[in-house]
């Protein structure tokens, strides 16, 4: 337990210390929110869907959590050769606790980051339907964070070199974001797209956050919750297995 705790604490401490990283990572969500949010707003309104900012704010929060958590996991690739990870791998502790400490730390950082963007959304004019909903929204954010921190761990444990990173970024992380319904409603989509969006775990995360914050949902919060918990469990298991196979 102490081992998981200290590795978790390490991730959080490092994050809180790196002001530049905090500010830099807020760049792209703010851009999406500011430029797409206000740029597409009038079109969205004319299509009879209401305020685009209201609609996309949960999506941008989801995106922030996605990026932060998945990269904390992928950083493993670097860390195991040139970083601290090797030090933990020869210590008399189980690989599972190392993996859990790291993953939970990365997830925590992602949640903090998501909350910062949530505040930015509020400043931009986003209004959740009730303040009571916020704790449940945070629960959804936690699940998104765990799912993708675990996915990052799977990838980071499996990749062999930096070239793979680019591949993962373009063919996995970006599609996860664009297919999640963060930017558009999931109704009346072409069949292929509709299928792909349903295979994307982030879809359920964004839908969950949206359902509790603004009361708009496609699958319903219970389905969202169930899918996220299932995927989190699955990815943590695969992550733990891949992590136990790391050779340095």
């Amino acid at each position: 337990m102490t081992v998981i705790y200290i590795l978790w604490l390490r991730e959080v401490k490092k994050y809180l210390r790196s002001r530049t990283q905090i500010i830099a990572s807020m760049g792209s969500p703010i851009m999406y929110l500011g430029i797409l949010g206000f740029g597409l707003g009038p079109v969205f309104q004319r299509a009879g869907q209401g305020s685009y900012l209201q609609f996309m704010a949960p999506g941008v929060i989801g995106m922030t959590v996605l990026f932060t958590s998945i990269f904390s996991g992928i950083a493993l690739l670097w860390d195991r050769q040139f970083g601290f990870l090797k030090e933990t791998l020869v210590a008399p502790v189980s690989r599972l606790s190392i993996m859990l400490g790291r993953t939970l730390g990365g997830a925590t950082v992602a949640i903090i980051q998501g909350l910062l963007i949530f505040i930015v959304c509020l400043i931009a004019g986003f209004r959740p339907t009730s303040a009571m909903a916020i704790p449940i929204a945070i629960l959804f954010m936690m699940l998104i964070a765990i799912v993708f921190a675990a996915l990052g761990t799977v990838i980071g444990s499996s990749l062999k070199d930096m070239q793979g990173m680019q591949l993962v970024m373009n063919f996995l992380v970006m599609p996860i974001f664009f297919l999640s319904g963060a930017l558009y409603p999931l109704t009346n989509l072409p069949k292929v797209l509709a299928l792909l969006t349903r295979l994307d775990p982030l879809t359920y995360g964004v839908d969950g956050v949206r359902s509790v914050l603004i009361g708009v949902t496609h699958f319903g919060p219970v389905v969202d919750l169930a899918v996220l918990i299932g995927v989190a469990g699955l990815l943590l298991t695969i992550g733990a297995w891949r992590f136990s196979k790391i050779e340095i």
């Binding site: 790196s18 050769q81 601290f84 090797k86 030090e87 210590a91 008399p92 050779e247």
Partner: protein
């Protein structure tokens, strides 16, 4: 303290370590000397539980690393070829996490960390982030950290690579004095002859995964009828240059070097 019998490691067709046997006595400083790709790091990885041997037996303080893994891990400290400090944490925090990972109690942990940081002349900088440290300071901190849990064996894998002569000199002075005062057994790999010559009591020369000679510096020179350890080394291993094929780790290492500048 360390006993290795007929140890081999194969990666597919490649035999990295080929049937080696040797013993390291308690309190001894023992050096593995060999050209690039000779199997030095692979041997250290097997001794430190990171790799499973293909065949053969290893014993560290009477224990088998493949069976009593965690017990063995508590008994050694290791400094790898590539840095393994957390650069975004302070020297003290790096020591602190190490202590927790090795289950050293708080009081003892703080006491040992204080003694070691003072010994390695890092005490004044204990609250500075590691990324502000020079290469020599980082190496010293890694060694200090590796000794925090009072290990019986200290493994050093090319610890002086990339350090200037002053830092190298200072580092070995510390390691030697610790070896004498605490009776820590030291197992090191290097390809600097003068280091092995000066520091180690016994040297094993390894090439193509095999130990070609073993003994004190003088014994090696006598055996090959040469004047210096360098001549003895060249006589034993030949003068051909080893062209290792670059692995993905080498590619990563190159990027790491670029970023550090």
């Amino acid at each position: 303290m360390i006993r290795v019998q007929n140890l081999s490691k194969k990666f597919g067709d490649l035999t990295a370590v080929d049937n080696i046997s040797f013993e390291v006595n308690k309190g001894e400083i023992f050096a593995f000397l060999g050209p690039n790709g000779a199997g030095k790091t692979t041997t250290i990885k097997m001794l430190t539980t990171l790799l499973h041997p293909t065949s053969g037996a290893v014993e560290l303080d009477g224990l088998d690393p493949t069976v009593a893994r965690d017990e063995v891990r508590k008994r050694f400290g290791v400094v790898f070829q590539d840095p393994s400090l957390d650069q975004d944490l302070t020297a003290w925090e790096n020591m602190e996490i190490h202590g927790v990972l090795y289950g050293v109690g708080r009081k003892e942990r703080h006491e040992r960390a204080g003694i070691l940081l003072k010994l390695f002349e890092l005490w004044d900088r204990r609250d500075a982030l590691v990324k502000t440290f020079s290469g020599g300071m980082r190496r010293r901190l890694e060694i200090a950290r590796g000794l925090l849990h009072t290990p019986r064996v200290l493994f050093l894998d090319e610890p002086t690579l990339g350090l200037d002569p002053q830092s190298r000199n200072q580092m070995w002075t510390h390691v030697k004095s610790l070896n004498e005062s605490d009776q820590v057994t030291v197992f090191l790999t290097t390809h600097y002859m003068d280091e092995a010559d000066r520091v180690a009591q016994r040297i094993a020369i390894i090439d193509h995964g095999r130990i070609v000679a073993i003994g004190s510096s003088r014994e090696l020179k006598e055996q090959t009828q040469t004047e210096s350890l360098e001549d003895a080394f060249l006589k034993l291993t030949g003068t051909t240059i080893r062209d290792e094929s670059a692995s993905s780790t080498d590619a990563l290492r190159q990027v790491a070097r670029m970023w550090r500048r």
